[in-house]
């Protein structure tokens, strides 16, 4: 492992390039590239990278960036790209297409607020809006988790039991533009870790098929159910990918979620990405004071780890969800999923906090205030807008 002080974007670019390069003895790799703040450094890195058998193609829009990835993937290549915010929104039609075509493309979403009004700071609403697109979704709390999750993503996506694309999300600026010391994977290890990309339904002159043509309702329903079946196999395939990861890289990444101090906790807070890092410190402080506080960080959002989350929260009396996103007319998107996972539990209070929207700084103080609020509640109310300092 090569330890280096790099930004989140550099870490993502390096890892994508290594994964692409690892397919050089098969059908090669391809990136459809289009810039948007705060992900642009990723596609710049890939554009500079000299692949043995691969290309980064600069196109005119995010929609076409995913179009190129789709084309390269139906031609059998390992394909990947990155985007953010309105770029993801513009790409959305082809994001759905990639999922429904069952193409194992990997997309780095550098989370940024959707506009207008224009705001370049972090908010998970951009990638969460893609939750129904037949993509796996992972949220990385640190530079290292980003690197490790990208490696896992190719391995899981390309597994013949899955064959679905994956979004790996990181926080705009807080992760993408700050530096941390990271173990960057060496090519030799990535070569060992990733099998050659094999897309069984790729275009073939010998066996011509029409990919993505017309279907009747019955076939469409089968298609959707097959996607659901593949999604249901993700936990097992992820487990295998983590075991293999540990053998190759000597390190064990987090799985679907990480539950910390939940065994005895009456109050459990839930947060993803960099908010989870801040939360971890706050939880440690509270426990030093003897408070029974724990936390859960859901790393995997699609498929949503309902059973694992319910198990992690089995002893909790109060659950506070920190949602850095907003579904107008409902509330936080993580909260919706978590509340659904706990249906039938009358002994637990689940309260949503909309916090840090548009990149507001979620400091330890903010999280302390949320815990204090949660501990005094007798029943849950509608999602609470928890404002942070300007």
């Amino acid at each position: 492992m090569a330890r280096a002080l790099v930004t989140g974007n550099h870490a993502a670019g390096h890892t994508l390039a290594a994964c692409g390069e690892a397919n050089r003895e098969a059908r090669g790799c391809c990136c459809g590239a289009y810039p948007i703040t705060p992900q642009s450094e990723i596609i710049e890195f890939l554009r500079d990278y000299e692949f043995t058998k691969g290309r980064t193609i600069p196109v005119e829009s995010e929609h076409s960036a995913m179009g190129v990835c789709i084309g390269a993937s139906v031609a059998g290549a390992r394909s990947f790209t990155a985007s953010s915010s309105n770029g993801l929104a513009y790409m959305t039609e082809n994001i759905f297409a990639a999922g429904f075509y069952r193409l194992p493309i990997v997309l780095i979403a550098v989370n940024r607020t959707l506009g207008p009004p224009w705001n370049i700071w972090v908010d998970q609403g951009d990638s969460l809006a893609l939750r129904d697109a037949a993509w796996l979704q992972f949220y990385a709390e640190s530079h290292q988790e980003l690197v490790d999750t990208i490696l896992l993503a190719f391995r899981i996506s390309e597994d013949e039991r899955i064959l679905l694309p994956t979004i790996v999300a990181q926080d705009g600026f807080v992760t993408s533009h700050t530096q941390m010391v990271v173990d960057l994977p060496e090519q030799e290890l990535v070569d060992r870790y990733l099998p050659h990309c094999h897309i069984p339904h790729r275009l073939s002159l010998e066996h011509p098929t029409t990919i993505g043509g017309l279907t009747w309702p019955r076939e469409t329903e089968h298609h959707r159910r097959e996607i659901q079946t593949a999604m249901e196999q993700v936990p097992a395939v992820l487990g295998e990918a983590i075991d293999e990861f540990e053998k190759v890289f000597g390190r064990r990444p987090h799985g679907m979620l990480s539950a910390e101090h939940t065994e005895d906790a009456e109050t459990v807070l839930i947060a993803c990405n960099t908010m989870a890092r801040t939360l971890r410190n706050v939880v440690a402080e509270r426990r030093e004071r003897g408070e029974r506080v724990g936390m859960v960080k859901p790393k995997m959002f699609r498929p949503f780890p309902r059973a694992e989350l319910a198990a992690a929260l089995s002893g909790a009396k109060r659950v506070g969800v920190l949602d850095r996103n907003h579904s107008p007319g409902s509330g936080g998107i993580f909260w919706q999923e978590i509340a659904a996972s706990l249906q039938g539990r009358s002994d637990v209070l689940v309260q949503d906090y909309l916090v840090g929207l548009g990149g507001g700084d979620v400091t330890p103080q903010v999280i302390h205030e949320i815990i204090d609020d949660l501990n005094t509640r007798k029943e849950a109310v509608e999602p609470i807008w928890k404002e942070v300092a300007a």
């Binding site: 059908r27 090669g28 391809c30 459809g32 058998k53 691969g54 290309r55 193609i57 600069p58 196109v59 005119e60 829009s61 929609h63 076409s64 960036a65 179009g67 190129v68 990835c69 789709i70 084309g71 390269a72 993937s73 139906v74 031609a75 059998g76 290549a77 394909s79 039609e93 082809n94 297409a97 275009l203 073939s204 002159l205 011509p208 098929t209 029409t210 990919i211 993505g212 043509g213 017309l214 279907t215 009747w216 076939e219």
Partner: protein, 301 residues
């Protein structure tokens, strides 16, 4: 089965456009796809077809009306998807042509930016637009390829605006080869597809494609309609090399444009004399003849 039946079935299966496809009678695609197959002389292409009648042609899963591999792309994405296919094929030593087969909606309208970008990058693609001057698949709405005065389901009093000059737009990209195709001029059609095949980089072919459903015309008159469009000078047959060198393939004869429009009920709001149609043809040829004279593809001997 006898050997003859097996051989016949194989021919039917191997054809680029198979029997049993869903094309309407008199559709220009049926001729265009078969002639393209013929012009490729047994070489099989990869095709990318966006949302348009051309993907309905395939019929419903698991059957396909196409005997070649097809990626059905989203509406605006055919050149982007084809870019991915062509680049990966090239990296793997596969030199079979990659062809975008798209309607005018996917070319003149929603796919314009994607097409322009692929042309600007000079991707190694053959892009064929079968232009029926209408959103045929959705019931016949106007597109920016619909000519002035034509009645569609969204221009019931006749379209107020003229048609985009797609060939000029593509020539403006300085692509290696652009040409128009007629389903009434077989030798010219085959030669142009072969020229496109032998050229590398981005190649654009524009085929005026009769659509009896949308044009309100008789299916058995489709070929004659296109012949009169060419011969009246309304749809010129020409080629543009590198965006700057012109070759005209057919000069108009004395066929009146009324031959073309009087057989289509979409033109009921237009008469050849009363409108600018003849003036349009005159102006179009003034421009084309000027370009072909000033910037000829073939040096005078």
């Amino acid at each position: 089965m006898t050997a003859d039946v097996v051989a016949t079935e194989k021919l039917r299966c191997d054809a680029l456009l198979r029997p049993g496809n869903t094309n309407c009678a008199g559709c220009g695609m049926s001729i265009g796809l078969q002639w393209m197959d013929h012009a490729l002389e047994g070489e099989k292409p990869y095709m990318v077809i966006p949302a348009c009648c051309g993907i309905v042609t395939a019929g419903a899963f698991p059957t396909s009306g196409y005997g070649v591999p097809i990626a059905a792309s989203t509406f605006a994405s055919a050149p982007a998807v084809a870019t991915g296919v062509a680049n990966i094929n090239e990296l793997n030593g596969d030199t079979s042509p990659v062809i975008c087969w798209t309607g005018d909606g996917g070319t003149y309208d929603i796919g314009m930016a994607t097409l322009s970008a692929a042309a600007e990058r000079n991707e190694d693609l053959i892009y064929i637009c079968y232009d029926n001057e209408i959103y045929g698949n959705t019931g016949g709405q106007r597109s920016s390829a619909t000519p002035e005065g034509v009645v569609t389901s969204t221009t019931k009093q006749g379209k107020g605006e003229g048609k985009k000059d797609m060939m000029a737009i593509m020539a403006g990209h300085r692509i290696p080869y652009a040409a128009t195709l007629s389903v009434a001029h077989r030798e010219d059609f085959l030669r142009k597809v072969r020229t496109a095949r032998q050229t590398s980089g981005f190649r654009f072919l524009l085929m005026l494609s009769p659509c009896p459903t949308g044009w309100k015309s008789e299916p058995d008159e489709s070929v004659e309609l296109i012949r009169s469009a060419v011969c009246s000078g309304l749809f010129p047959l020409y080629e543009v090399f590198d965006g700057v060198r012109y070759r005209i393939n057919e000069q108009p004869d004395d066929t009146p444009v009324s031959e073309y429009i009087s057989h289509q009920r979409r033109y009921t709001k237009v008469s050849a004399e009363a409108t600018s149609l003849e003036a349009f043809i005159k102006q179009q040829w003034h421009y084309l003849n000027g370009m072909a004279t000033a910037f000829p593809a073939d040096k005078a001997t």
